[in-house]
């Protein structure tokens, strides 16, 4: 969503326009679910987290004086911290992601590569996973990801470039120890 369009929607929302709130929800809800399900591991938990994040974000935007610089980044930031809290309650380490049916992606024609990528990705830290997911998979700007992760834009860029290298190394390692994948 273009920032100027998002700003107009937020201003309409702040004036009490329900339709603007509905358009914002529709724009973000699917991406948020995909983002959160990766952290909490089940669709049911992800749906709870997304709903809470939407309510908290709209409450905050409604009380905010002026227009937030990026409502989307705000929304993802709240969703991420709520999801990480939920994950801690579930005592669910990142390394167990392979066991989750809800986020195992559909089988694709080049499923060996697909499986290898997922296997390597699941072994990475939450921070690496988040920058890769938001910047490369969801095409978010480094500035917005900086707001979500409470870091500078430059810090996000360098973390992303390092994460891509680590992902390549991890894929090579996984391929070596599990030759049946590729």
């Amino acid at each position: 969503m273009q920032i100027s369009y998002e700003h107009r929607l937020i201003e309409r929302f702040q004036r009490g326009d329900h339709k603007a709130m509905e358009l914002l929800v529709d724009h973000y809800i699917d991406g948020l679910l995909r983002f959160v399900i990766r952290i909490v591991g089940s669709r049911e938990d992800a749906e709870d987290v997304v709903q809470d994040a939407l309510i908290k974000s709209f409450e905050r935007a409604y009380q905010f004086r002026g227009t937030p610089s990026s409502f989307g980044a705000w929304l993802y930031s709240i969703a991420r911290s709520t999801a990480l809290d939920r994950r801690r309650q579930l005592r669910f380490p990142f390394a167990q992601m392979t066991l989750i049916d809800d986020i195992s992606a559909p089988v694709q024609p080049d499923s060996n590569l697909h499986a290898l990528l997922w296997s390597a990705f699941e072994r990475m830290s939450e921070d690496d996973q988040t920058v890769l997911f938001l910047c490369d998979a969801e095409n978010m700007s480094h500035a917005d990801v900086g707001i979500i992760m409470e870091r500078s834009t430059a810090a996000i860029s360098s973390q992303l470039y390092r994460a891509r290298r680590r992902l390549r190394d991890e894929m090579a390692r996984v391929k070596e120890v599990t030759p049946w994948i590729a």
Binding site: E22, R34, Y62, P106, W118, R164
Partner: protein
């Protein structure tokens, strides 16, 4: 342009953030430098792989869930204009009931 400078530009280049002039300079350097060429390849390949494989675009919310979210938001902001519509289908958003408080 030396390797040190090129290495700093490779990431932004893979995200298409360089000017044409800088982009050309990095490309030229990578033609004759195996290390930088390898790094450029890694950045571009990993970006494409993650983009193509990590997001399951078929994973979307159900209409029931969306309606539930909108109901919760309507409860939170009951005084909003036109809170009657919670349909996922934009074309069904018709004749919103005015619930604005005076």
């Amino acid at each position: 342009m030396d390797c040190m400078m090129v290495k700093q530009l490779i990431g932004p280049m893979s995200d298409a953030q360089l000017t044409q002039e800088l982009d050309d300079a990095v490309t030229l350097h990578c033609l004759t430098c195996p290390q930088c060429s390898q790094e450029l390849h890694t950045q571009k390949t990993m970006r494409t792989l993650v983009h193509n494989h990590l997001v399951d675009q078929s994973l979307v919310v159900t209409d029931t869930y969306r309606s539930r979210c909108m109901r919760r938001l309507n409860d939170r902001f009951p005084h909003f204009h036109g809170t009657a519509s919670v349909s996922a289908n934009q074309t069904q958003y018709q004749l919103p009931i005015q619930l604005e408080e005076s």
